[in-house]
């Protein structure tokens, strides 16, 4: 076994499960995720001399995975970039007020209803988020990457990471609120009881 192969095996291959989980959340398809993982590791192996030892290998693999995914969805990317560029609000303004919290605080001030929601439903709602928001939430909340690492993977400024993350979380909260009302975990808003 060559030194390069040994390094790759020790540093990159242990992240295969994490890359698969990320690919699955990106593509919403086990078959597509398998292809993505294969392409990611193939490209990583061929470019191993470009990897800087000591940096976070998982982030580097996610970057490759994201690029492979976007290239396979070129047309969608153009649409998403236009969507993202058209509205990039100030992250601190997004943090200042959360309309989902404002809307539910009379019915459940501390968001206890979230605890009644099963994992599958959370993942389903996550999979239904627009792709750019989904990637930010998955990398931050499921993969524990820092803002700086998410920015590197998505190739966007940190401010954009915050905006996408905060907006993505609000969309996810809204979806979970709707589900909680539907399942009876949270009372319907006043005036909506009949619907």
């Amino acid at each position: 076994m060559t030194e390069s192969s040994a390094d790759f095996e020790a540093e990159a291959l242990p992240h295969l499960d994490a890359v698969y989980s990320f690919a699955l959340r990106l593509s919403n398809s086990e078959e597509a995720a398998a292809d993505l993982v294969q392409d990611t590791f193939l490209r990583a192996y061929r470019s191993w001399d470009q990897y800087t030892p000591g940096t976070r290998c998982k982030s580097w693999l996610f970057t490759i995975c994201r690029n492979v995914f976007l290239r396979s969805r070129e047309r969608d990317r153009r649409r998403d970039e236009i969507l993202a560029e058209s509205a990039e609000p100030d992250p601190r303004a997004l943090s200042r007020e959360n309309p989902v919290f404002m809307e539910t605080r009379e019915r459940d001030p501390e968001g206890s209803f979230f605890r009644s929601i099963v994992d599958d439903r959370v993942l389903q709602a996550l999979d239904e988020l627009p792709k750019e928001f989904r990637m930010a939430v998955v990398l931050s909340d499921l993969e524990d990457l820092s803002y700086e690492e998410v920015a590197q993977v998505l190739d966007v400024p940190i401010g954009t990471v915050k905006s996408r993350l905060f907006r993505g979380r609000q969309l996810l909260q809204k979806a979970l609120v709707d589900y909680a009302v539907q399942e009876g975990y949270l009372p319907a808003p006043p005036g909506d009881e009949e619907s």
């Binding site: 076994m1 060559t2 192969s5 040994a6 790759f8 095996e9 291959l13 295969l16 499960d17 890359v19 698969y20 989980s21 699955l24 086990e30 995720a33 398998a34 993982v37 294969q38 590791f41 193939l42 192996y45 061929r46 992250p91 601190r92 303004a93 997004l94 943090s95 200042r96 007020e97 959360n98 919290f101 539910t104 605080r105 001030p109 501390e110 968001g111 206890s112 979230f114 605890r115 929601i117 994992d119 599958d120 959370v122 993942l123 996550l126 939430v137 931050s140 909340d141 499921l142 820092s146 803002y147 915050k162 993350l165 905060f166 979380r169 996810l172 909260q173 979970l176």
Partner: protein, 97 residues
């Protein structure tokens, strides 16, 4: 003589470390993500420790985070995916131990 001013009913001067509810809310998500610098983190923490008004929003955001993080699957890649990766790498000259 801050204690004397308070005793006499005067308004206590705002300590430089104290922040308003608005300032705490603006930094809340970065605070929960552990992305604030140390001083800023401590300011938000000190505010949240004592502010009843901010408490419900803090609990709401925490409950949401718990449910999302709880949905993390330590789901391993299926064996056929792992086999395919090793096969493709083998074709590239990689030898596994």
């Amino acid at each position: 003589m801050d204690w004397l001013r308070r005793l006499l009913g005067g308004r206590r001067a705002r300590s430089p470390q104290e922040i308003t509810c608005m300032e705490a809310a603006e930094r809340l998500l970065e605070f929960l993500d552990g992305e604030l610098e140390e001083v800023s983190h401590e300011e938000v923490e000190a505010h949240l420790d004592v502010c009843q008004k901010c408490f419900p929003r803090l609990q709401f955001e925490k409950a949401f985070r718990e449910v999302v993080r709880g949905a993390r699957r330590g789901r391993p890649a299926p064996s056929h995916v792992r086999d395919r990766v090793l096969e493709v790498l083998g074709e590239e000259g990689h030898s596994s131990s």
